[in-house]
Symmetry: none
Subunit: 226 residues, 4 copies
DNA sequence: CATGAATGAGGCTTCATTCAT
DNA sequence: GATGAATGAAGCCTCATTCAT
């Protein structure tokens, strides 16, 4: 078989493994997930998983990379879709997109936060020196490094544009607005996850209503003259 | 030694162990924490820790209980302090208090969220039947059950009062307002934790400014006529 | 390697582990046996033992299964050997065979009795619910279930034949005669084991003489008209 | 308080502890019994149990001693009761008494057998040197040594008398007859215990019938001219 | 490339025993 | 004498990782 085809096969299998890892991590969490579970889910042996990902952490990093990649795609698509709209509308589009993204892959939101912790982290055990080393040698770690700031710059950039075109009145730093929006969404997602993935209400509040309200509040904030 | 004194000593030791557990859990997370670490931190043997808490989960539950208890104290103190104020002011006091609480004990916020997951959870491994059983036999589990809803009722109650006395204009369900505020704070805390506990800025935004802004936004929301 | 060969190897290893377990259990008893001892005896690591038998109990069950299987083989061989003989002779053959069996594998006799206790048992600790569950999931447990009654039916069946062909005069229930014989042999074995495995006399009685006498007494019983 | 009264108190408490130990050992077996269980059953603290019995083994030895003592009392009482009878009757009385004894305290039968194993034993772990030493220093161990052979001599003595007075025809060595009877009873008891303590039938045979049959068989044996 | 057997460090937990009060 | 907190050795079991086939 020729090289490109072989590479394609390799990528396919890697993808399947990451799929499985995602599923398992989502279901039981990183700490409780076993490499064997992942292997079984893919329908291969443990050895095979290790052939593609030489450590569990590395597999986790692969999931993280995919999460970021996926988020970026969501955001790009949103911007593309709102191509003709003004800054405010684009930003609100990005917010809704981010909510959708978290809804569809709640693990991703988690994983992206986890990644932030990584450098000071305890997640992967206390022997930081060793682990950070292992980590940093991971191809996925480097890939993640490269794209980690994309969402932030994408969004703050749009906020800046909104301010420029006058659709956003709020004169606070775009980064502050970004943090406000981001943290709101994260809080929303965390509470929902904590409450259980498939409920329709929380404290007798319909989650959809809450979501709508959250969006309107954020929009309102952007419109605030201060 | 007489009974009360002995009980007191026992409680003191329990307290010291929970202190240590808190410290360890905060530092490395539940999954990476070892009972032996906790023991060493207290300066006793593993066996002693087990004398007071017969499983690791139970110890975790004890931390959870303390977290909720502590939160309730914070909230009561806040209400007491704002005794003379109107509903809006009391609610904003509670919000600030909650932010302080999370700032001072970020583990507590985590633990309280974790507790929500517990019933559907995988945190403690997959064999739910078994573990939920062990859990439910824990004295702390029952204690937690008893006070878990206190914060919610305290806060929604104050919102209701604010609406009644006219200081809160927003006519949405108090529970919706509560969720909005709660999730905002959680998002704020999560991002801060992810970023690292002792930084002063995030994305070049001073965290204090962000905090102030968050509070003003929430207050603004409560004042919104809709 | 092809599947059958791999399976064969797996079975071989399983067999070696059960061999070792038998040896250890015989030497120090179930409670005092350590999984590590078993591993060392086989010349593998603890992990390997657990790869084949996921709990100590399960390993014990495997020994039990082998014990029953072995007993059945002994009995079948005896019947085969005495093919041409009458009922009485066959029954006496079975009795002698059972004595030989106990002589050669005294652990087996123990293990078979233990198994009877299992359902109401405390052998494996007090938390019956949990352990019985673990136990019942064991493949060996089910296998044991399937063959546990074979010895009884084999022997009572032969007694029935002896009665039918007139060689056994005793008209009591075959089951009663079976119990009488079985308990005699068990008593004989228990005393011998208690006294020590390799002695030639007990209370100045030569054990061989005692054995011969036991057999003749049992035969006499079967010939009793009542 | 004066010495005798103090001694009496001490003996009373020792007795209560042995009672409890008996109960626990019977219920869960020596290996699974915990000193704490024993203490709780008595209603005292672990420390107190250790005040009276400095090791678990020693406590076990105390039970063993009591078992032998009790057996001897049963046997003496039986002989006393049959004072006027001939040798055969006395022997059969002893047999029935032994059956009663086992029925009422099945642990005792076990414990007496265990004791026999002790010298070559593995029951108390593999480090024989150490344990045998600990054991041999136990007061109860020495007491047991002193009376262990009483049952045997009592019974063989009666058999001898029966032979002398002509009521026992069987001319085999009294020790052989003793072993035959003893082992029969032990087999009977072991099977019953294995089957469960409170059943009325085994393999559809009423246990009382089996018992009666066992006794008649033994008597028959003693009457056999050979 | 894939398999799955093998490894072994490490964690949780138990419990006989000790000892300060 | 009694208590119960404290100890720590020991055992069961898990699971990331390696490696011969």
């Amino acid at each position: 078989m020729n090289r490109p085809a072989a590479n394609h096969r390799r990528n396919q299998k890697e993808k399947k493994i990451i799929d499985a890892a995602e599923h398992i991590f989502t279901a039981v969490g990183y700490a409780n997930a076993k490499m064997e579970d992942v292997a079984r889910e893919v329908g291969v042996s443990k050895g095979t998983v290790y052939f593609y990902f030489d450590t569990k952490e590395n597999l986790y990093m692969a999931v993280t990379y995919r999460a970021l990649q996926s988020l970026n795609e969501y955001l790009y698509r949103s911007l593309e879709h709102d191509r003709e709209k003004n800054g405010l509308e684009k930003v609100m589009g990005l917010v809704k997109t981010y909510l959708d993204f978290c809804d569809e892959h709640f693990l991703y939101a988690e994983v992206i936060l986890d990644y932030m912790k990584l450098n000071r982290s305890s997640k992967f055990g206390r022997d930081q020196a060793k682990l950070t080393t292992a980590m940093k040698e991971s191809m996925y770690y480097r890939r993640v490094q490269d794209i980690q700031n994309l969402p932030i710059s994408l969004i703050t950039e749009e906020i800046r544009r909104g301010v420029a075109d006058g659709s956003i009145k709020n004169k606070n730093k775009p980064e502050l607005l970004y943090l406000t929006a981001w943290s709101s969404v994260i809080g929303f997602v965390k509470l929902n996850v904590a409450a259980g993935t498939n409920r329709k209400t929380l404290l007798n509040v319909e989650i959809d209503k809450w979501r709508t309200y959250l969006i309107s509040t954020l929009q309102h904030t952007l419109l605030l003259e201060d």
